[in-house]
């Protein structure tokens, strides 16, 4: 192997193996990948602004006269509002319940050493790994039998079951990142464990709690399978969209407009809470 001349590579820290590609080539690849990620979303928005003749033109039209008719039609029909309201109710209830139950658990797992701590953590995470059908089939039977089918309570219970593991797991990571000294000081002053949790740890953990709440809300908002099976009348956004397509196969403009409307809250979240989302979506593997 020849000895390379270090003088040729005056690179700062953190920029080494990227030298395999010239900067312009690297940039090209990165932006091509961005284009690939963005294109379906762009296409959806452009479809939602097209007249029917433009939407189904044999040669797809990249330039066209944008119209708002699709949005007007969708909003006037009123169905979307119902889906929105259902999603909002279920996602909010899910988030509140999952946090009330999950945050204390996460705190104890992060702060207290006791036998079985790691096993408990693994058990919680393993419920996230469970194939949904393994839960869905008994849920379905139970709901059919008990009348929980088609109720907000039923949907919320199912969504909490799906999301609790994520809430605990992420929240545990947030608590672990906080310094324990504050609580130790509180103990010195004679605080009980519960007081240390309520009055010292919780206020400091608020940003983490907010981040986890957003994620929990988002996951509930996006959930499809359980909602599809456990409810016929209470349609949330994804299920509403799915049934909408059932009878509107070719009305691409309206379908797209509905999709864009339903994505709006999600996109708002992504723009505002990007960092928390990265951490949450990677299950805390990145900090």
């Amino acid at each position: 192997m020849s000895v390379s001349a270090p003088a040729l590579a005056p690179l700062g820290p953190g920029r080494r193996f990227g030298r395999a590609l010239a900067p312009w080539a690297r940039r090209l690849v990165l932006w091509l990948f961005a284009l690939w990620c963005l294109f379906p979303l762009y296409w959806l928005v452009s479809m939602s602004l097209k007249r029917q003749v433009d939407a189904v033109a044999r040669v797809p039209r990249f330039l066209f006269q944008p119209i708002a008719d699709n949005y007007a039609q969708v909003l006037a029909s009123g169905e979307v509002w119902g889906y929105f309201a259902n999603s909002l109710i279920v996602a909010t209830a899910t988030t509140v319940v999952a946090l009330l139950i999950g945050v204390p658990t996460a705190y104890v797992l992060a702060r207290y050493r006791f036998r079985g701590n790691a096993d408990y953590g693994f058990w919680i995470l393993s419920t996230r790994m469970t194939p949904p059908v393994a839960m869905l089939i008994p849920f379905f039977v139970l709901y059919v039998r008990t009348g929980l089918m088609d109720t907000y309570v039923g949907l919320t219970v199912a969504h909490v079951a799906i999301n609790l593991s994520i809430v605990v797991w992420l929240m545990k990571g947030f608590f672990e990142d906080l310094p324990g000294e504050l609580e130790e000081a509180a103990f010195m002053d004679g605080a009980t464990p519960f007081q240390a949790f309520r009055q010292v740890a919780l206020p400091v953990a608020l940003p983490g709690i907010a981040a986890v709440a957003i994620l929990c809300f988002l996951f509930s908002w996006n959930e499809f399978l359980f909602t599809l099976v456990l409810s016929e009348d209470i349609r949330t956004v994804p299920v509403g969209l799915y049934t909408f397509v059932g009878y509107q196969q070719v009305r691409w403009g309206e379908l797209s407009a509905s999709s864009v409307l339903m994505l709006a809250p999600v996109l708002a979240f992504v723009f505002v809470f990007q960092k928390q989302l990265v951490r949450g979506l990677t299950l805390g593997a990145t900090k």
Binding site: R16, M135, V144, V157
Partner: protein, 296 residues
């Protein structure tokens, strides 16, 4: 036991109680119910005529062609999708690590596929995949290639599903790999560079091994999720054409929710669960995710 120790113990139990009760009720009880169902011929169309059937459902499952077909489709889908996402994710993360301009914007865009409502994204793909009116065949013709029936032929349908899954989840590996790259100790790299190692060699000999703990977690999570993919397949092909893209998950859905054959579907779900448990125990325990950092 001192009173402080008693109080500490009571606190721990109290804090864990709600989640324990709820998760036990919502996961262990359903699991036990699934096991019980799977040993009977329970069918919701005739719930009164349920009989114990022992391992009958499992035997029927393992001797049916539809199970092995679904197992094969699931394996192909999972392995190809995760491999593709791994190569793409790590490659892009390595490039992004050296980029200096526009990184926040790029990261934002890369985040979109995994955050947006899957069903909405999948509908967009359905429009794009349309053989006569979709934008994909237009682009294909533009490059002088023959138009494809993206979701209508068995091999192509599976490939399309893998492409959509990769679109959605390659960013997952990318983000974890990027986090790993940022956390890597650069000193050994420095030394190797001094010894004259080229950038490609540096990456494979030094960076990749150090990145491995992060990738092990990413691959495990991704593989387990790919194994139980539902939304994409259900909305795009619903297992078709024929049974070409019917995974184990879709088969269980069809048997349980559409045909109401709860016993049979539960047996299938239990088999899936066992596969998942073995996979996650094997990889996650080793990935050292579970070192408690307890302080108090």
């Amino acid at each position: 036991m001192t009173s402080a120790a008693r109080e500490r113990r009571r606190f721990i139990l109290l804090m864990l109680a709600p989640a324990t009760v709820l998760l036990a009720g919502l996961t262990i009880v359903p699991f036990l119910a699934s096991v019980a169902f799977s040993l009977t011929d329970y069918n919701l169309t005739a719930p009164g005529e349920t009989d114990f059937s022992g391992l009958g459902n499992y035997l029927a499952l393992f001797s049916s062609a539809e199970f092995w077909n679904a197992a094969r489709v699931t394996a192909v889908f999972t392995i190809l999708a995760v491999t593709l996402q791994l190569v793409l994710g790590v490659g892009i993360a390595a490039l992004l690590h050296h980029e200096t301009r526009g990184v926040p914007l790029l990261r934002l865009v890369y985040l979109l596929p995994m955050a947006i409502t899957p069903v909405a994204a999948v509908f967009t793909f359905r429009m794009m995949f349309n053989p006569s009116l979709g934008v994909l065949n237009y682009l294909v013709r533009l490059f002088g290639l023959p138009p494809q029936d993206w979701l209508g032929t068995p091999g192509m349908a599976l490939a399309s599903l893998i492409a959509v899954d990769t679109w959605q989840w390659a960013p997952f590996i990318l983000l974890i790999a990027a986090g790993g790259l940022a956390a890597i100790d650069e000193e050994p790299l420095e030394a190797a560079k001094m010894d004259g190692a080229g950038p490609v060699r540096l990456f494979f000999d030094h960076t990749l091994p150090m990145l491995f703990p992060f990738l092990a977690v990413a691959i495990t999570f991704r593989a387990i999720d790919a194994f139980k993919t539902f939304d994409i397949i259900f909305v795009l092909t619903n297992g078709g054409p024929g049974i070409a893209t019917r995974t184990l998950n879709l088969l269980a859905y069809k048997q349980g929710i559409e045909f109401l054959a709860m016993g049979y579907a539960a047996a299938l779900a239990i088999v899936m669960l066992l596969v998942t448990i073995v996979a996650s125990q094997t990889f996650l325990r080793r990935a050292r995710l579970f070192k408690p950092k307890a302080q108090l």
